[in-house]
């Protein structure tokens, strides 16, 4: 049994200007100890997928319209709040994009790092502080005893993200959801944080869902990658295959638009048009209006994910029909 099994997840936002289908029928599994990358551009639904699993979608305006997220036999979307609390923040933890705003500026680092322990485990304050201090040292903060009693504003961006990681990992979760954890950081600091997540994972054997818009970040860290577009998964494969043999036209276009993969000074490939308006029903393939291979039937038949090779699935009708 997989650690996490998400089936046909649908999340939408009901606003005055209409119903936005942010996540529209997403299914995937995460195995124990595995690193899954979720890649997509802004508005592709990658973050909302994670927020839905963590119960962080504000309701209203958000609404989980359907589907399930089974974590070790418990459906996180439909279980009692008490049952969810025993899992969220303890066995499943999350870190966010912006370490500047995700720490409480009024509380000392020590209080924030031990909070999950105090809530989830029967532990004395003294023992919690001891474990907090060890955790802070483990995520690579120099001079941890002194830093432990400081406030967030005394930490740099990279250091704050380390604090967030310490806070997330202190309960030894089985699954860590990382939502663009390095997007706000400099490349050298990004390298430090990626290294840290990799090390912590090897030591604890936890699974990681790593959400990013940067294909290059995924390539070194993840075992498997899935690409999202307009609230749906369009392609999923192990990392090597996805990069060496991408099949879906969107994945291919995305890869061709990265400067690092193209000869210097060459005109970069650009995807014409804009992502679809998610408040309107999308008949057929959501990428069809921008796709250079789109055929007539792409505009009215909704493609489903289908395997092209074991472990490699993609949702393009024409690829499935071996036309491209």
């Amino acid at each position: 049994m997989s650690l996490l099994e998400v089936t046909d997840l649908k999340t939408s936002f009901h606003t005055r200007s209409g119903v936005y289908r942010a996540v529209d029928g997403v299914s995937f599994n995460v195995e124990r100890g595995e690193t899954l990358g979720i890649v997509g551009e802004s508005g592709s639904g990658k973050s909302v997928t994670c927020y839905s699993i963590m119960g962080l979608v504000p309701q209203p305006p958000g609404r989980i319209e359907g589907g399930s997220a089974m974590f070790d036999g418990v459906d996180l979307l439909h279980c009692s709040p008490a049952a969810a609390r025993r899992i969220r923040g303890r066995r499943v933890a999350m870190i966010f994009q912006d370490p500047m705003t995700s720490l409480n500026p009024y509380l000392r680092i020590s209080e924030q790092v031990i909070e999950p322990l105090v809530i989830h485990e029967k532990i004395s304050r003294r023992a919690a502080l001891q474990r907090g201090l060890e955790m802070l040292a483990a995520v690579g903060i120099n001079d941890a005893p002194r830093r432990f009693n400081q406030y967030p504003h005394e930490f740099s961006g990279g250091m704050r993200q380390r604090v967030m990681i310490a806070m997330a990992l202190i309960t030894r979760p089985e699954l860590l959801i990382a939502d663009e954890p390095t997007t706000a950081l400099d490349v050298t600091v990004q390298a430090q944080i990626l290294e840290l997540i990799g090390t912590m994972q090897r030591e604890s054997g936890m699974a990681v869902i790593f959400v990013t818009h940067d294909l290059a970040v995924v390539s070194g860290l993840c075992d498997r990658v899935q690409v999202m577009y307009a609230g749906r998964i369009v392609e999923t494969a192990d990392t090597r295959t996805l990069f060496s043999d991408p099949r879906h036209p969107y994945t291919r276009a995305l890869q061709r638009s990265i400067p690092a993969t193209q000869p210097k000074g060459a005109e970069l490939y650009t995807i014409p048009g804009l992502p679809p308006d998610l408040s309107q029903p999308i008949p057929g393939c959501p990428f069809a209006p921008r796709c250079e291979f789109a055929a007539e039937r792409c505009r009215d038949t909704t493609p489903a994910l289908a395997e092209v090779a074991p472990g490699h699935a993609q949702a393009c009708l024409r690829v499935q029909a071996h036309e491209i």
Binding site: A191, Q192, H213, S244
Partner: protein
Amino acid sequence: MKSDDPILQLTDVKVHFPVHAGVLRRRRVGAVRAVDGVTLSLGRGEVLGLVGESGCGKSTLARAILQLVPLTAGNIQLNGRDLAACSKVELRAIRRDLQMVFQDPYASLNPRLTVYDTLAEPLIAHRVCPQAEVGARVAGLMRVVGLAPRFVRKYPHEFSGGQRQRIAIARALALQPRVIVADEPVSALDVSVQAQVLNLLAGLVREMGLSLIFIAHDLSVVKHISDRVAVMYLGKIVELGRAADVIERPLHPYTRALVSAIPNPDPVAERARRRIVLAGDPPSPLNPPAGCAFHPRCAYAQDRCKSAVPPLAPYGGREVACVRAGEI
């Protein structure tokens, strides 16, 4: 592509921000050395990439070039004229030649102005053309950056991030400048949109003979668009040379670390390569370390690196500020 007759010449430019302490009796206790002795030239039609981490002074340098912050020392010459020696009236005319594109197109456009108002403002303020021609000029600018002129009455919130950045670029082009300073123009954009804006900028440089200073922290983007690259660390340039040289065969230990930190989109190469992970954060520009500012984080540092500040010196067809450039 270095030309003997640069459009822009910076000589030993310093921008220090004083730091005060005390409430009743304020006194100066130090200075943040944001830009600390930068000498740089920009050739006609050249794209110069400027890279470095947050806090290295690259944005302050951009603002100094545009005369948005006063220089503490040094001088900037545009077309051979010293900008510091110009009167306010002269400076106003010179500003037409120097324009800027900012990082965040959500913040840099006035949400209460339509595209027309935004693009017409510089044309009217500088009396570039008769009132009757403003509309045609605005439509022309929109076409140059790839926006349909029928959107002219729309407000910024009606556009996507990439389209807003196009509006910001059109605004910078309105006065037909010689030099554009683009401060992280694609950092806030998605990859597919980033490619569109990069293509647009590269095309404009080619077709309009512009010179461009392109500031970014993403080295693969900088390598793609730039002729030469300057790497900044703590207010100083540590390496300067042809883009392909600097990024493919970096000489300065800091550039090496920076280059090795770029994730590679090829998983096989990515797993095979060795990443130089720098320890710690950049030091504070309020209190920079003695000698080479990079020595506390440098794997090759020796005793002499702790005492003398290494000058930016020619080495192997480029300029490097490392006393051990030939040894390592």
